[in-house]
Symmetry: C2
Subunit: 105 residues, 2 copies
Amino acid sequence: MMENDIFKALADPTRRAIFEKLASTQSMNASALREGISISQPAMSQHLAVLRQAKLVQEERQGRFVHYRVKPDGLALIVQWVARYSTFWPDRIDALRQTLKEMDQ
Amino acid sequence: MMENDIFKALADPTRRAIFEKLASTQSMNASALREGISISQPAMSQHLAVLRQAKLVQEERQGRFVHYRVKPDGLALIVQWVARYSTFWPDRIDALRQTLKEMDQ
DNA sequence: CAAACACATAAGTCCATGCTTATGTGTTTG
DNA sequence: CAAACACATAAGCATGGACTTATGTGTTTG
């Protein structure tokens, strides 16, 4: 199941760090992503493969570089899953509500 | 980090099934939770311990039964984490927006 | 109070996973 | 076109995690 792929992909702290770094920019190639994260080249490549399979990121080859970027709809399933239990976080709902309000502007 | 505990706890499909079942009721003891889920008693106990440590559920002993229930604010960190990337799921946002709207009623 | 019960913990096994080194594939460049 | 480069894949290893059986702890009940 795809939902499971996403949860498993995000369960690793290194992968979340990669995703977060990727989200902070337009797009970035694999080598640039390694900067600041102490990790070997194959390890990065493997992590990106996991994120790719979970459809959280998308790749685009440009010459000998592969540019990665966060996939717009990647977190949708997580959002939907969490939303099912939205009645359980009445306090925190306001923050999300505010986020949505800001998106309208 | 607590965020990591939550992601890891939700990364297992059996644990998500337990959480979902628990969310569908007020509270339930460990034996009742096993019904429908093909799992041994110790396995259930261990899964509940993981969910407990992630603060996704809370326990309450009543006699020789231990009643579990979903902890209201348990998913807050996930919501906050996801909300940081809300600009990346513009299409799916409507579903969540609708959920919030329904909560208002 | 001994047996039954609900649950937790211990200990061991098996498979998944994150890492490493080594090598392969595709692209650019001197 | 050979070397350098960016990245992917292969293979092996070590750890983590989900399961099992066995046993422990606390509570109820006949």
